[in-house]
């Protein structure tokens, strides 16, 4: 299972990277979304996917799955959501102001012009 999940994460990372290297702002944000999915799944996978009950003591099971990675992922999900929301609004605002979402046209103006 871990092997399969590792490969799925690799595919998510690959697609995310390819999207982030593209020209359109929209695709870059989608890329970051895929990247965070990949990262979250990776944390879970690395915590081990061995069987066991959900981390609720009421289950009274012998073994539980590891609760720590879950707590970490929960924090990460919320943070990445905050960042994604911010980036989306930033993209929206920059399109309003600059009239483009093409990264090639959004270049620094400090040294070249």
């Amino acid at each position: 299972m871990e092997v399969m999940m590792s490969i799925v994460c690799g595919i998510l990372f690959m697609a995310a990277t390819y999207l982030m290297l593209s020209k359109s702002l929209l695709r870059i944000i989608i890329g970051t979304g895929l990247l965070s999915h990949g990262a979250h799944l990776l944390i879970l996978t690395m915590g081990g996917l061995k069987g066991g009950a959900a981390p609720l003591l009421g289950e009274k099971a012998k073994t539980y799955v590891d609760p720590l990675p879950q707590a970490l992922i929960l924090t990460a999900i919320v943070i990445s959501f905050g960042v994604t929301a911010f980036m989306l609004v930033l993209a929206y605002r920059s399109y309003q102001e600059l009239g483009t979402d093409d990264m090639d046209q959004m270049r620094g103006t400090d040294s070249h012009e």
Partner: protein
């Protein structure tokens, strides 16, 4: 602390007060206040002659950074005393001269004297410091103050160019020297020069010996304007003439000479030292004197002549190091070279200082220093002419002036090298006297040019801006004193030998002396009919003939193409460096985010991949893994399909929905892997995210022309690399777990300690509550950020 420390610090303290003198006493030339200091210092140092010449050297230590072995140790021996006297004595004369040279009304005198005092203090620090780090500090301070003084007339382009050039070259050398200091410290574990001299045999054997020596020599050669680093000196002539006289003839350029002399006991036994110091010195002598003749500016001639004379002193120091190969001073014919170096050092300071002042007077009184426009000043400026004759004849080596004596000794030193049978000197050594002789002929010619071109011949008043007349007496005092010294040392050279030269030679060649023994220097005018005498006669005769025919062979200088000069090489390499770095920077700083991301990803992939395989960290084991169920396999396939759809989607809606499907897939995985809280959160957040995407994309444009993502090979390779590396790292991390998980603690104590049964939630708010606090902060900041982005709108150029 002692009076010696105070002597070094006084110029710096005085520099603090100069601006006040300038502001409060507008009617008195600031230089008069400054003048007091070097006179006091000179008298103070003068008192040391007696103890030092009887062999008792003083030193005194004060703490600076004792934990690093850096002490402010002042050491007064023969060599230090000689330089201290030169610095304070010529300093006083130069300040006196500058009082008449620089107008109190037109010039910003406070700056001038602050820089000059800084320089004087720094130079005293260089020659009196025993600790090498302190020496280096003062060394750089001389570079800095020289930079400020060369650029004194900072509105002139040429001054700035000259200042920058001297700064770059001397600081380059200074940094090399610092490298040498550090290497020597690693060998000897001390920064003290005196202790280093006692450890010279250990240093000789060490692997760092050669690099340390080369770095030191780079420092000495750049400062003392040796070939090929002399190029800064002619451009430094843009400084006011008192500065040129002081820094660029008598003191700063001799800092490299000082360093070479000071480290002769440490490095002198090595053949590399002998060849480099003697060889480069003698070559600089010939090269500098040859190039001095084509100059038309008086100060430029003097600059090249300084270069050449410094080469002479340097070569003598190298030749003097040959004497270290003998046990004692008895029958040691090579010590004469060291003595000659020290003697010529003093002589050069006297005649070159006076010649610079003469050049300044001519400039001041006629408005030009160009020898093509000057002529016939002899009758108009008789005193200046007399000083010029003394200075130039002394420089040319004509009796009875002091230059004659040191030149004779120089020839003796060079001829004696032929008897030296180490380092293959017997085969190549013949070059030394020959080059010395050729250099001396050219020296003779340019010395004649300096005297006779401006002062004799036809007077051309129409070419001059001012009507020339004799300089005011005050301006003449200093050159008169220096010229008188040149005559005095020429007629009675032995006033110097016991008082200054013997103790200085003892510091350069310390092990040759037995306990209580000292050098016996007797400089005589007449050695009988020896080869040196004929060499001098040859110099005078050939020099005179060549001077008379100067116009005929002068064309030789045009043969050397302008393109190949060292100055041109310096300029081109500087421009090339600038252009090259700009090109490199432009090549990779493209301004496209994409390119930068590409670099980052590539670097990450290469570094991680390299670490993974070079350290053979990769491993692959499947034991202990959970089995793959059908549900999971199908879900994984769905997620991969969703991902691929995002990649190939033509419209934004498709890609958003595909992204959403991947997100829901993730939350389903959370369900399968028994993470109910995660699944809940993921579900909600994915929904909100997709809604947000939809909301925002409503205002964003359609994907360009509804095109699918164009395929780019490099991007594909990079992303394939990222995906592969992530998978490989995940696999190997999974295959080699280092330690057990700490989660047992959470499972056991969630209820016992925290009173909760949902372990994830207990971790979030109890065991690791801080994470949650700041994650809340992140959300708050994001919300505020979004709010302000939408609400606060400042159009371009508008100010709040």
């Amino acid at each position: 602390m002692s009076f010696l420390h105070l002597a070094i610090l006084l110029p710096f303290i005085m520099a603090l007060f100069v601006p006040f003198f300038y502001k409060w006493f507008k009617n008195i030339h600031t230089g008069w206040f400054v003048l007091i200091l070097p006179i006091i210092l000179f008298i103070y140092f003068f008192q040391y002659i007696k103890p030092v010449s009887s062999g008792s050297n003083t030193y005194s230590t004060a703490d600076w950074i004792p934990s690093l072995g850096i002490q402010l140790t002042v050491y007064m021996d023969g060599l230090g005393l000689l330089f201290a006297l030169l610095i304070s004595g010529i300093g006083a004369l130069v300040i006196l001269y500058s009082i008449y040279y620089l107008s109190g009304k037109k010039e910003e005198l406070h700056k001038f004297y602050v820089y000059l005092l800084l320089f004087m203090g720094a130079m005293l620090g260089v020659v009196l410091s025993d600790n090498m780090v302190v020496l280096y500090t003062f060394w750089e301070l001389t570079s800095l103050s020289s930079f400020l003084l060369i650029g004194y007339w900072h509105t002139r382009e040429k001054s700035r160019y000259g200042a920058l050039k001297s700064m770059l070259i001397t600081v380059f050398g200074g940094l090399c020297m610092l490298g040498g200091i550090i290497l020597l410290y690693l060998v000897t574990n001390t920064f003290s020069i005196r202790e280093m001299v006692t450890q010279a045999p250990i240093i000789m054997e060490h692997a760092y010996f050669l690099p340390a020596m080369l770095l030191f020599l780079l420092g000495a050669f750049t400062k003392s304007a040796q070939f090929p680093f002399y190029i800064w000196l002619p451009d430094a002539m843009e400084a006011p003439t008192p500065v040129s006289a002081y820094l660029h003839s008598a003191t700063m350029v001799k800092a490299g000479i000082y360093l070479t002399a000071r480290f002769t006991p440490v490095f002198g036994l090595a053949p590399e030292w002998f060849w480099l110091v003697t060889g480069i010195g003698i070559f600089t002598l010939a090269w500098g004197s040859f190039h001095a003749i084509k100059q038309t500016d008086l100060k430029a001639i003097l600059a090249f002549s300084t270069v050449s004379q410094l080469g002479l002193i340097m070569s003598l120091l190298g030749a003097g190091a040959a004497s270290l190969h003998f046990e004692s001073i008895d029958n040691n014919v090579f010590t004469i070279a060291t003595v000659a170096a020290i003697f010529h050092l003093i002589n050069h300071a006297t005649f070159k200082g006076s010649l610079f002042m003469v050049a300044g007077i001519v400039d001041h009184e006629t408005g030009t220093r160009d020898i093509r426009r000057l002529g016939g000043l002899m009758t108009l400026m008789p005193i200046t002419f007399t000083i010029a004759i003394i200075g130039a004849f002394s420089m040319a080596g004509i009796p009875p002036f002091n230059g004659f004596l040191s030149k004779e000794m120089f020839f003796t030193g060079m001829v004696n090298l032929l008897e030296f049978d180490l380092f293959n000197v017997d085969t190549w050594g013949i070059l030394f006297p020959i080059l010395a002789w050729i250099g001396s002929i050219f020296t003779f010619i340019y010395s004649m040019i300096i005297v006779f071109k401006p002062f004799t011949g036809k007077h051309q008043p129409e070419k001059l801006e001012k009507k020339p007349h004799e300089a005011p007496f005050g301006m003449l005092i200093s050159p008169i004193i220096l010229a008188s010294l040149a005559v005095l040392f020429g007629i009675f050279p032995n006033v110097l030998s016991y008082s200054l030269i013997e103790p200085a030679a003892a510091s350069v060649l310390p092990y040759l002396l037995e306990e209580g023994e000292s050098f016996h220097v007797h400089i005589s005018h007449w050695h009988g009919f020896k080869i040196e005498l004929f060499m001098t006669l040859g110099v005078i005769v050939l020099g005179l003939l060549l001077y008379i025919w100067l116009a005929k062979w002068n064309k030789i200088y045009r043969l050397f193409p302008q393109k190949w000069t060292l100055n041109n090489a310096y300029d081109r390499s500087l421009r090339g460096l600038e252009k090259g770095s700009l090109k490199i920077q432009e090549a990779y700083m493209t301004g496209f985010l994409r390119d930068y991301l590409g670099y980052i990803f590539t670097f990450a992939v290469l570094m991680t991949g390299w670490a993974l395989f070079s350290k053979s960290a990769f491993s692959f084991k499947t034991d202990g893994n959970a089995p793959v169920g059908v549900y999971e396999f199908v879900l994984a396939a769905v997620m991969v399909a969703g991902t691929v759809t995002v990649l190939f989607a033509k419209s934004r809606l498709t890609s958003i929905i595909a992204l959403g499907s991947v997100g829901y897939g993730v939350s389903l995985f959370f369900v399968f892997f028994r993470a109910p809280d995660l699944a809940l959160t993921q579900l909600v957040i994915e929904t909100v995210s997709v809604a947000l995407f939809l909301l925002c994309f409503y205002y964003l444009p359609e994907l360009q022309k509804r095109e699918k993502l164009p395929f780019k090979l490099t991007n594909f390779i990079i992303s394939l690399g990222v995906g592969t590396v992530v998978t490989l790292v995940a696999l190997s991390a999974n295959s080699q777990r280092v330690s057990e998980t700490i989660s047992k603690y959470f499972i056991e104590n969630s209820y016992k300690e925290a009173g909760g049964k949902n372990m994830v939630n207990v971790i979030l708010v109890d065991f690791r509550g801080f994470d949650t606090l700041f994650e809340i902060t992140v959300l708050g900041i994001a919300a505020l950020g979004i709010f302000s982005m939408i609400k606060l709108r400042m159009s371009r150029g508008e100010k709040s």
